[in-house]
Structures are given as structure tokens and as C-alpha cells.
């Protein structure tokens, strides 16, 4: 086992900041599109493939996380702070997977084609079902309110 390095690997840092920018952009696009008539379509057309890109990067990130040795916590962090940091990291990973999947599932349940770009589109991951769609759509709203 390699020794703990002094800082995160370059690969981890690139993944981190790339995803930070994408996630923040995603939040802003999501908040704007539901309030906008004029820009709705343009924003949704970015929101869909960006969400899938985040899902792919989250998977890459998880693999990277497992096979990289991390720098240690700063010695000033207490045991409780370390627990909190680890728990919030797990939560963030869970959300990076869950939110794109919720969007994908919602479009599937709503009988929408999941268009990425040009003729490229993804298959449905759930059957078209109005009640299922409504549950997802309400969850999404819930997140919107929580996040704001």
C-alpha cells in the first residue's frame, strides 16, 4: 500500500473541479428552466445531456476514488468532524448518481424520448406510467424547494 500522499492526485482534482462546475451549472439551469417560458426549451436541451454526463463522470469518479490513496485529514480535525466529512462525502456520491437517474426515470415514466443530441437518444429505464411520472415530478419539485 502506497503511503498517503500530501495532496489529491491531479486526476482527482480535475474530476472534482470539472464536476463542481457541471453540478453548479446543472442547479442553475434546473432552477431557471422551470421558471422560464422563453428559454425553457434551450435550457432543457442542455439539462438532459449534462445530467447524463454527470452520471458517467460520477461512475468514473467512484472508480477513481476506490483506486486512489487520499491525503490524510488535517490533524486539526476532530474525530467527529472526520465522521461528518466522510458521511457528507458518501451523501454527495449518492446524490451524484441519484439525481441524474431520477431525471432519466422521470422522462421515461412520462413517455418522453430521452434525446441527447442529433439522433442520439437513450432507452427508457422505466415503463411509461402517469402515477410513476407524477411521483418523480413531485420529488424533483421537492428537491427544487429544498435546494433554494
Amino acid at each position: 500500500m502506497a503511503k498517503n500522499p500530501a495532496q489529491f492526485t491531479l486526476r482527482s482534482r480535475i474530476l472534482h473541479w470539472l464536476m463542481a462546475v457541471m453540478l453548479l451549472a446543472m442547479l442553475f439551469i434546473g432552477a431557471s428552466m422551470v421558471a422560464s417560458l422563453g428559454n425553457y426549451h434551450r435550457l432543457v436541451a442542455i439539462h438532459r445531456p449534462l445530467g447524463i454526463m454527470i452520471l458517467i463522470l460520477a461512475a468514473i469518479r467512484l472508480v477513481n476514488r476506490r483506486y486512489t490513496t487520499l491525503p490524510p485529514f488535517p490533524p486539526t480535525m476532530s474525530h467527529r468532524e472526520r465522521l461528518l466529512a466522510s458521511a457528507s462525502e458518501r451523501l454527495l456520491y449518492a446524490l451524484m448518481f441519484a439525481l441524474p437517474l431520477v431525471g432519466w426515470g422521470m422522462l421515461s415514466a412520462g413517455h418522453y424520448p430521452i434525446v441527447m443530441f442529433g439522433p442520439v437518444h437513450l432507452p427508457a429505464i422505466l415503463p411509461a406510467n402517469p402515477n410513476l411520472y407524477a411521483v418523480f415530478a413531485k420529488r424533483t419539485r421537492f428537491w427544487r424547494i429544498c435546494c433554494s
Binding site: S32, S36, F73, A134
Partner: protein, 369 residues
Amino acid sequence: MSSSEPGPLSETPPAALRGAGLVLRFVLIGVVLAGIGGLFLYAGGWFTPHALSPDTMIDTFEHVNGEHPGFRRNHAKGVCVSGYFESNGRGGTLSKAVVFLPGRVAVIGRFALAGGQPYAADAARTVRSMALLFKLPDGEEWRTGMNNIPVFVANSAQGFYDQLLATAPDPVTGKPDPAKMAAFLAKHPESARAIQLIRSQAVSSGFADSAYNSLNAFRFINSRGVVTPVRWTMAPDQPFKPSDLATPGLSGTNQLFEALIAGIHNHPLQWHLIITIGQPGDPTVDATLPWPPDREQVEVGTLVIDHVESEDTSPARDINFDPLVLPDGIAGSDDPLLSARSAAYSESFTRREGEHKGPSAVSTAETGR
């Protein structure tokens, strides 16, 4: 995934912050968080509560028409159909969309009357709509919602919203307030012109002999990347018969729908998809303006509707006929109504899908199933 294994320490830990330094750090963190939070609220329209949004648009439909849970907030009364589109291949020079390759694609759709009241009586002058979903063999979809009027009554979301309020029945008289309508027409001369053009057209006898127009302009993109501005029309194969009930008040609340259902049972109904090719300078941004009548038109195929089914059982009930669900090779134009329709339809769809659904006015008994 724990990263808490202690590593060898090469540096001495920094001294803990105290006093002013600590306060400064907290203030900085607070400013960044508040800034991001504020921007987020701004993006979500929290600081502009009176701006027109998908929410306010659909709220207004509910306000004007009353609440009818489970139904579309507009074009609420309808019946579902299915059949196929037979492309003749001639659309291929204009658009690379798979739908224009020679051959047949499955279609499901819905005929409806404009307005948010699912049990309103059929009336000859009520706008008729045909909504279609073309299921392309590669999994793409083309959805379109068309009306039997030559131009649309508004050229902006605000104009449409103003018209909705101007034509709302007065709570006392039960009829639209003429003063409000006059004020609307004065504020929106483009709508006054469009309404005049719409009224000048003869109304056909029913759904089957109506032509349905895309109203909004779109762009066709072919395999060489050439972009063509277009509008389209589903022109009926059924010969035009003037409405014998051009004056309001048809006999029977579902007369138009019953005639459509009987027609499909009798013989499949057909429409020809006609693409009108716009020239430079033809308005694509304004759905109230017709294009010059001499524009080149190309017939690209035939729509055959051979099955009719009540909303109570058809999967078409749970489809949002969003006009911007388009295959590669067809794209929206600069018409601002397209994005507004997409946004408002989505809001209406999300609301109705979670609601308990009442029976359609055009019931399974009438569709003969």
C-alpha cells in the same frame, strides 16, 4: 470509502484561528453561500414573481376554465386515434429526418377542441386540433400539435396570456366582457388582424374535412446541412363540406366527435402532409402572419387514421404533444411561442398526470369499444 486513516505528518499543524481572523473567515464563507443562494433564487424567478412563467400560465387556465383534475388544461375535450404515415420519400431532399425516408411509420394522436373545459358542448367555431406522435424506427419521435386555423391568434406568450384573460367569461354575465376584448385588440393589433383572417375562412363540417396547420414555423435540415424554413399542413383527403351549423349551437353536445368516430369506423380517414417552403424574408418569428400564398408546397406523404379510442383507455391520453419533441432533421424556428408552448404543456402535463382522472366526455361507448 473512509479516508480517515492517519498518515505520517510531515508538517506541524497550523495554529487554530481565533478572534478577528475567525470572524473574517466565517463572514467570507457566509458571503459566498449567500451569493450563490441569491443567484439561485434569481434564476428560479423568486425576485420577479409577476413575470410570466409556466406556472402562472397554467394557473390562469385553471382560473379561467375552473379546475378539471386529470384533464389537459387546454384542448381538454378530445378523442384518441392511431394509424400510420406513409412517406413518399419526397421530404428527404428537405430534411434528413427518418420519417421522410420512403415507407411507413406508426402514428398515435388525438383530435380535440380548444379550450380548457373537458365537457363543453361542441361548437362549429371552436378551434379544432390534431396532435400526432410519429414513432420512428430508430426510436426517435416527432410530435406535433396543429390547429384548423390559418394563423395563430398571438405572436408571443404575453399576447396569448392577455387573450386568455380577455376572453374569460365574466363571473356575473357568464360571457366575455366586450370592453376587455376591445382593450386586448387595441393592445395587440397583430391579434386583431389574425382574428380577422381566421373569421374570413369558411368552417368545414367536422374534424374529418378540416385542414390542420403547424402555425409556428420550423426548420428542416437535410443531409448536406441545408436549412429550410417551413410550415406544414395536414390537408384532408375528405372533400370539404361547409359547416351547416356555422351559427353557434350544434345539436348534441358531442356532435363533432361522434361524426369523427363514425367516419373512422366507416373508412380510414386520410390527410396529405404538405410542406410549405419559406423564402428569405418570410416571417418565422410571428405565428399571426401568413406566408405569401404562392410559396412552393411539397406533398411528402399520407396520414391514415384507421382506429379511434376514448381517452379513458388510450395511451395517447398520457402523452404530452410538445411541439419541440423533434427528430434529427427538424428543428424549431425563432418563433418564441414554441419554447413557451413546450414549457406550458410540460407544466400542464405534470399537474394532470398526478391527478385522479375523470371519464372523458367522449366515452368508450361512443367510440364503440
